[in-house]
C-alpha cells in the first residue's frame, strides 16, 4: 500500500468534534513517563502536545554543588541506556578545559566501550520499535544480545547500566585480561542476530506496511528543528560528529555513515530511521574490530588522572555523537573545584520536539510508531 498520509487535510479549517486523549505518563509505549495530549478526529491525529518533566531531577543545579568528578554519576543517569556515551563528552569537556592529554590505551578503551554501548542502545531502540508495531519476539532476541554486552560492562566496570567508568584523565580501572576475546565474540553475536532481525522484522511485509511512508520527516524540517543522530540521518543528511569533527581517536577508523535512502518508502519515514540504527550497529562493529586490533596492550589507564580536578577559569562546549544524537556539555569554571555551571544539550529533548510536526494527519496507531522511531529516553529529556 502506498498511502502517504491517511488524511491530508488542513484540520484547522474543519469544524468537528475532536476527542482529547491523554496518553501516558502510564502507558505501555510512551518509553517512560512521557505524557502526550493527543487530539483525535476519529482515529486521525490532529494535534499532539508532549508534556514533559515527570522525571526532572535537577541535574544542572545538582552539578553546581558537586565536584567535577562527582558530576559523572549524574551524567550516567541522563540517558541511562547509553551511559558510556554520556560520560564521554563530559569528561572530554573537563579534560579540554584542563588541557589533559589522556594515554593512548584509555582512548581505545573509551572508544570500544562507547561503541559497545551504542550497539546496546540501538538494540533497545530497534527492539522497542518492533514492540510498538506489535512484534514481541524480536524484542526478546535483541534483549538477550544486549545482555551479553552488559556482562562485558559488568566484568569491566562493576555496573550494568550506570558505570562511572570514564574519569577525568583516565578510567576507573583497567579492563580485565580476556576483554578482547569477549568483545570480538560479542561482535560476532551481534552480526548474527542482526541478520535474524532483518529477516524476522525489518523486511517483514507487515512491518514495512506499518512503518514505511509513516511519519515522514523532510531533511529541511529535521535541520530546522535541530534534530541529530539517527533521526537526522534517517532523513538523508549524512551528518555524524564522529566524521564531521572527529573527537578522541575516531579519525583513525574506517567506517561509513548510514543514511536513510527511502528504500521501501519515502526518505525520512519511520522505516528509514530504524534501518539507520540497524546499519549503525554494523558500523560500530567495524570500529570495535579495528580498535581491538590497534589497542596497545600495556599502559597505565590512570597515569593522567590529576590529583585535584580544578580547571582554570574559562568555559568550554564539547559535543559527541551519542547514539540518540548530538550530546553536548557546556561547562563554565570559575577556578574552584566545583563547576560554576554545567548545561547538557540533550538529543532526545530536541528530537522529541519534532513529534507534533510529523505526526499530524496520521492514525493513532501510527503516532505510537512515530514516537518509537524517534527513540527518546525520558531521563535525558527531563534531566
Amino acid at each position: 500500500m502506498t498511502t502517504t498520509k491517511f488524511v491530508d487535510i488542513d484540520f484547522s479549517r474543519i469544524e468537528s468534534d475532536r476527542m482529547r486523549l491523554n496518553v501516558g505518563p502510564q502507558h505501555p509505549s510512551t518509553h517512560g513517563v512521557l505524557r502526550l495530549e493527543v487530539e483525535l478526529d476519529g482515529e486521525v491525529v490532529t494535534n499532539v502536545i508532549p508534556h514533559i518533566g515527570y522525571l526532572h531531577r535537577c541535574f544542572e543545579k545538582i552539578a553546581e554543588n558537586m565536584n567535577y568528578q562527582q558530576v559523572i554519576p549524574y551524567v550516567d543517569r541522563m540517558d541511562y541506556i547509553s551511559s558510556m556515551n554520556n560520560e564521554l563528552p563530559y569528561v572530554m569537556a573537563v579534560e579540554k578545559l584542563m588541557g589533559i592529554k589522556v594515554p593512548e590505551k584509555v582512548e581505545y578503551i573509551r572508544v570500544i566501550m562507547a561503541e559497545l554501548n551504542r550497539i546496546a542502545n540501538h538494540q533497545i531502540a530497534v527492539a522497542t520499535f518492533g514492540l510498538d508495531a506489535g512484534a514481541f519476539t524480536p524484542f526478546l532476541y535483541l534483549f538477550r544480545d544486549r545482555e551479553y554486552i552488559l556482562w562485558i560492562f559488568e566484568k569491566a566496570t562493576g555496573g550494568r547500566l550506570l558505570f562511572n567508568y570514564f574519569w577525568v584523565g583516565g578510567l576507573a580501572n583497567d579492563v580485565y585480561p580476556t576483554f578482547k576475546e569477549d568483545v570480538l565474540n560479542i561482535v560476532k553475536q551481534v552480526r548474527k542476530t542482526n541478520k535474524e532481525i532483518e529477516e524476522l522484522l525489518i523486511y517483514n511485509k507487515i512491518f514495512i506496511d506499518r512503518t514505511a511512508n509513516v511519519g515522514v520527516l523532510p531533511a529541511d524540517v529535521a535541520i530546522n528543528y535541530g534534530c541529530s543522530g539517527p533521526v537526522l540521518r534517517g532523513s538523508g543528511v549524512p551528518f555524524d560528529l564522529r566524521k564531521a569533527e572527529p573527537y578522541s581517536i575516531y579519525d583513525r577508523f574506517d567506517f561509513e555513515i548510514p543514511v536513510g535512502k527511502g528504500e521501501v518508502g519515502t526518505v525520512g519515514d519511520c522505516w528509514d530511521r530504524n534501518i539507520v540504527r540497524m546499519r549503525e550497529m554494523e558500523q560500530s562493529c567495524r570500529i570495535i574490530e579495528q580498535a581491538i586490533a590497534q589497542m596497545p596492550d600495556s599502559g597505565d589507564v590512570q597515569s593522567a588522572i590529576p590529583k585535584k580536578v580544578r580547571p582554570p577559569k574559562g568555559e568550554v562546549y564539547f559535543r559527541c555523537e551519542n547514539p540518540k544524537g548530538e550530546l553536548g556539555f557546556y561547562v563554565i569554571s570559575d577556578g574552584k573545584d566545583k563547576p560554576y555551571r554545567v548545561k547538557g544539550r540533550a538529543p532526545s529533548f530536541v528530537n522529541l520536539s519534532v513529534l507534533p510536526e510529523i505526526s499530524r494527519g496520521y492514525l493513532f496507531a501510527d503516532l505510537i510508531v512515530i514516537l518509537g522511531s524517534i527513540d527518546i529516553v525520558l531521563g535525558e529529556v527531563d534531566r
Binding site: P28, S29, A133, G134, L201, A365, D366
Partner: protein, 350 residues
C-alpha cells in the same frame, strides 16, 4: 459411519441427555482453555528462547490453574461513571456468543450437542454476537481507550466476516449442505477426500484444487481476525490502546474475556477442521477410524490450528486498522468471490 447423538440413543430424548449434551462441551472447554493457556505460555517461551513458567508444578504445568485462582481473588472494580449494567453484562455476552458456537461442533460421528441442519450458518451467526459484547464493554467502561478498541472491533468485524462468509458459502456449495456432520461425513475415507484438496470425487476435482487451497487460506486469515489475535489484534493492540475494550476489566470479568478468546480460537479452528480438514474422519482411510478415534482426530486437527494461531501471534507484528480493511475488502473479498464462482461452476458442470 452413521451419525447420531450417543446420549439420546442411550438415555432417550429427555432432560438428562440434553443436560449432558450441554455440559460436556463446557467441561471440554474448561479443560481445553487451561491447556491452551499453558500452550500459549510455553510455546511463546520456546519461540523466544525462554523457559516459560517453571515453578508451579513440574515444568510449570499448573500455571493456568494458578492464574485462574489469582484472577478469582482479585478485586472486581467498576470504574466511576461506568454504565454498571452493560459493564457487568458485557463479558458474559461475549462468552455466551462464543460458547453458543459449541452447540453444533461435531466432536465425533456419535456426538454433536445439537444436530441442526444449518450448523455452519448458525455458528457464523452466533460468532458475530461477540462484537456486541465488545462494543458494550468498550462503551460502558467510560474509558476512551476502551471506546477506541470497541469502535475498531466493530469496523473490523464487517471487513473480515464477509470474505469469511463467502468461504463458508463456497464450502456449502461444494458439500451441498450446511450440516456440519454431513460435511464431515462426506470427507470420510482419507485425506485426499478433504475439502482442502478439492473434496471427494474423481480426478475432475483437480480443477478446483487450487481454489479450495486458497479458500482455506482465506478462512485461516479471517479466523485470525475473528479471534482478535496478532496480526489482527487491533481492538486490543497493547502498544496503542493499553488493552483495548477490556482495559477496565479486572478479576473474573477479565477472565471471562480471556476465556471467550480461547473458546473463540477453538471455534474457528473447529470450523476450519470440519470444513477443510475432514473433521473427525481419519486421514488414512479406515486406519484408526471409529467413534472414539473420531474424537482424537478432531481434537488433534483443531489443536494443530490453535497451535498455528499461537505460533503466528508470537512471530508477526500487528497490522494497522485501515490495512486490515484494505486486506478484507480489496484482497480477500475478490479472491473469495472468484473461488466461489469457480466452485459453483464446477458444481453445475460435474
Amino acid at each position: 459411519m452413521e451419525t447420531f447423538n450417543v446420549f439420546e440413543k442411550l438415555l432417550g430424548q429427555n432432560i438428562l441427555s440434553a443436560l449432558i449434551s450441554v455440559l460436556l462441551p463446557l467441561v471440554f472447554l474448561i479443560i481445553y482453555a487451561l491447556i491452551a493457556i499453558l500452550g500459549e505460555l510455553k510455546i511463546s517461551a520456546w519461540i523466544q528462547e525462554r523457559l516459560g513458567p517453571m515453578r508451579t508444578g513440574p515444568y510449570g504445568i499448573l500455571q493456568p490453574l494458578a492464574e485462574v485462582i489469582k484472577l478469582i481473588q482479585k478485586e472486581d472494580i467498576v470504574p466511576a461513571g461506568a454504565n454498571r449494567l452493560l459493564f457487568n453484562l458485557a463479558p458474559y455476552v461475549i462468552f455466551a456468543g462464543s460458547f453458543a458456537g459449541f452447540a453444533v461442533i461435531p466432536f465425533t460421528a456419535a456426538f454433536v450437542p445439537a444436530e441442526i441442519n444449518i450448523g455452519l450458518f448458525y455458528v457464523f451467526a452466533v460468532g458475530a454476537f461477540a462484537v456486541i459484547g465488545i462494543v458494550m464493554g468498550g462503551w460502558a467502561s467510560n474509558n476512551k481507550y476502551s471506546l477506541l478498541g470497541a469502535m475498531r472491533s466493530a469496523s473490523q468485524m464487517i471487513s473480515y466476516e464477509i470474505p469469511g462468509a463467502l468461504v463458508i458459502l463456497s464450502a456449502a456449495v461444494l458439500a451441498n449442505s450446511l450440516d456440519m456432520q454431513k460435511i464431515t461425513a462426506l470427507q470420510d475415507g482419507g485425506f485426499w477426500n478433504w475439502f482442502l484438496f478439492g473434496g471427494p470425487g474423481g480426478w475432475s476435482k483437480i480443477w478446483i484444487l487450487p481454489f479450495t487451497l486458497l479458500l482455506s487460506l482465506i478462512y485461516m486469515i479471517t479466523s485470525l481476525a475473528e479471534t482478535n489475535r496478532t496480526p489482527f489484534d487491533i481492538p486490543e493492540g497493547e502498544s496503542e490502546l493499553v488493552a483495548g475494550y477490556h482495559t477496565e476489566y479486572s478479576g473474573m470479568k477479565f477472565a471471562m474475556f480471556f476465556f471467550a478468546e480461547y473458546s473463540n480460537m477453538f471455534i474457528v479452528a473447529a470450523i476450519l477442521t470440519v470444513v477443510f480438514l475432514g473433521g473427525w474422519t481419519s486421514p488414512f482411510g479406515s486406519f484408526m477410524s471409529g467413534y472414539w478415534w473420531g474424537i482424537f482426530w478432531f481434537i488433534l486437527k483443531a489443536m494443530f490450528i490453535v497451535f498455528i494461531q499461537i505460533w503466528l501471534r508470537w512471530t508477526l507484528p500487528r497490522v494497522r486498522v485501515d490495512q486490515l480493511m484494505y486486506l478484507g475488502w480489496k484482497i480477500l473479498l475478490p479472491f473469495a468471490l472468484v473461488c466461489f464462482v469457480v466452485i459453483s461452476l464446477y458444481r453445475i458442470i460435474y
